[in-house]
Amino acid sequence: MIKNKAKSVLFHIVALAVGMIAMIPFFWMVSTSFKSQGALMTLPIQWIPSAPTLEAYTRVFSMFPFARAIFNSLFIAVSYTLITILASSMAAFVFAKMQIPFANGLFKVYLASMMIPTQITLIPLFVVMNKIGLINTYGSVIFPSLFRAFAVFMLVQTMKTIPNDFLEAARIDGANPFQIYRKIMMPMCAPTIATLCVTTFMDSWNDYLWPLVMLSNKNFMTLPLALNQLNGQYATQYNVLMAGSLLSMLPIIIVYIFAQRYFKSGLMAGGIKG
């Protein structure tokens, strides 16, 4: 009994210590965001601001259209996720359940494409997007979601586990392929789709390189880009930068707390960026 208690205390000490390491930078961020410009560079440093102020936050809101950036991020991430799920699940249905001549070869192309780093397609796609006038539009960051090999792969794996008897039964009842896809495949893949939703949303929400190249107009910037811009303007005013960082983190943390279950099971899925 006593031994168990001691073990439990030891566990919490270790777990808290690791938690502290993870949290100290955030503590420093929150603390700094409530400091005035002058309090940044005082020695000894103030762990907790001696005269807390909202100066940095008003600065962030007045200087940068943060509300707009939050909207852009949300709009892009939600559209990106929806298109990924739709296009990938439709393709996966064919690969998993239909016997057509070229499907196997095509699926191999999908698998092989997962090895290609996005950086290779970045420059040519910049050229193409520029040519068709998609640079500085939502489309330039949303449309690549049409092709997400990893999502297709994940969904094929799940759909293969759905017994063919279900499909046969539906076919005998007169269901067409679209009804089978909608009424049988999609509902039965719900857990995989849910995890894919969360991981795809996160990938899009936090993406940096792709939007950095495609979106240079302030009106279309996502949160990471807005922060990047803020960094360009206030390179050393860390109270402003930290306030911006904090604001940029809040939405995803709220999403996480509500969707924790899916995050957990979706981890294997999110490991490789497609």
């Binding site: 566990f11 919490h12 690791v18 938690g19 390491i21 993870a22 949290m23 930078p25 420093w28 560079m41 005082t42 762990w47 296009a87 393709a91 064919v94 016997q99 057509i100 499907a103 095509l106 192309v109 999908y110 494409s113 090895m115 780093p117 950086q119 290779i120 397609t121 970045l122 420059i123 040519p124 796609l125 050229v127 193409v128 449309f143 690549p144 979601s145 049409l146 092709f147 997400r148 297709v152 896809y181 996160m202 929400w205 936090n206 390189l209 990471p224 922060l227 960094n231 860390y238 930068l241 930290m242 960082s245 983190m249 996480y256 707390i257 924790q260 957990k264 981890l267 294997m268 490789i272």
Partner: protein, 302 residues
């Protein structure tokens, strides 16, 4: 219905389902790949129209970009920097994430809270994370050197010091990724059947023996997955470098993707950047194949 007719029907049915994804495959993967190969053999500056007449004759330079990259010093310095990152990052990240997985694997009160704590860095975008770390590592006014000072250690100039810049980036990266890989390893741990441990206990195996002869071997498939992902990610290191050091000081933290971005979008040497990106692909491809081959030696599937 004849068999052949049925096959045609099925193909017709499949067509609309495949269409969006295959359009995506062509526009966002295959066509850019072809253009990229072509670009990598030109000295295009990103300004002149690609379709203008005589473009090919004027700008085609064959393998010159590749030769220039491979015969210069920079490419090898960049590789060396990346290797330095990997040598520090992989062991530290593995130790931290195995530790987190073991912690979260014990059924105790408050686990849910710890899980959130360890996962918040993963949720943070790298831009925010890198800005936070830049300020944490500020030599005089940052919290890191002030904590070190409590133990009477004088912290270095971190990001302004060529010797310490890469270790600093490693530190931030371990902090950012340990929760992610920790939770992946946790799912691996939870997949190990309890009966192995019970059998080991009957045989009188101690905690360390259990860890080394049950947990570790049975965790190898997950570990393998983690290693593959971590290595690929290491070669694609980008936002943390861009924001924390911008490749400096003195090129000590220049890495592949940072070079590709800078050559393409800052110096407008698109052809050179495209060639660089193909070299990156070759490296990643070779490493992944090598890992797949070597896994037979140490990964146990039951």
């Amino acid at each position: 219905m004849t068999k052949k007719k049925k096959a045609i029907m099925e193909t017709l049915h499949a067509f609309p389902f495949l269409l969006p994804s295959v359009i995506g495959l062509f526009i966002f993967c295959l066509i850019p790949l072809v253009i990229s190969v072509f670009l990598s053999m030109t000295d295009w500056n990103g300004l002149e129209k690609l379709t203008s007449s005589g473009f090919f004759a004027k700008h085609f330079i064959g393998l010159e970009n590749y030769i220039k990259i491979l015969s210069g010093k920079e490419f090898y310095q960049v590789l060396l920097n990346t290797c330095y990152f990997i040598v520090l990052y992989i062991p530290l990240m593995l130790a931290a994430s195995i530790g987190i997985a073991m912690l979260l694997n014990s059924p105790r009160k408050g686990i849910g809270l710890y899980r959130i704590l360890y996962y918040i860095p993963v949720l943070t975008s790298w831009v925010a994370g890198a800005l936070i770390w830049r300020w944490v590592l500020s030599p005089q006014y940052g919290i890191m050197n002030n904590i070190l000072a409590m133990f009477h250690i004088t912290g270095p100039n971190w990001l302004q010091d060529a010797k310490w810049a890469m270790p600093a980036i490693v530190m931030a990266s371990v902090w950012k990724d340990m929760g992610f890989f920790g939770l992946i390893l946790l799912s691996g741990l939870q997949g190990i059947s309890k009966s192995y441990y019970e059998a080991a206990k009957v045989d009188g195996a101690g905690k360390w023996k259990q860890f080394s002869s049950i947990t570790l071997p049975l965790l190898t498939p997950t570990l393998f997955f983690v290693l593959v992902v971590a290595l690929i990610n290491s070669f694609q290191l980008f936002p943390q470098v861009m924001i924390m050091t911008d490749g400096g000081p003195n090129g000590a933290t220049q890495v592949m993707v940072e070079r590709i971005y800078n050559y393409g979008f800052r110096y407008f040497k698109m052809g050179y950047a495209a060639a660089f990106s193909w070299l990156l692909f070759i490296i990643i491809f070779a490493l992944t194949s090598l890992q797949l081959k070597m896994q037979k030696g140490w990964v146990h599937y039951d």
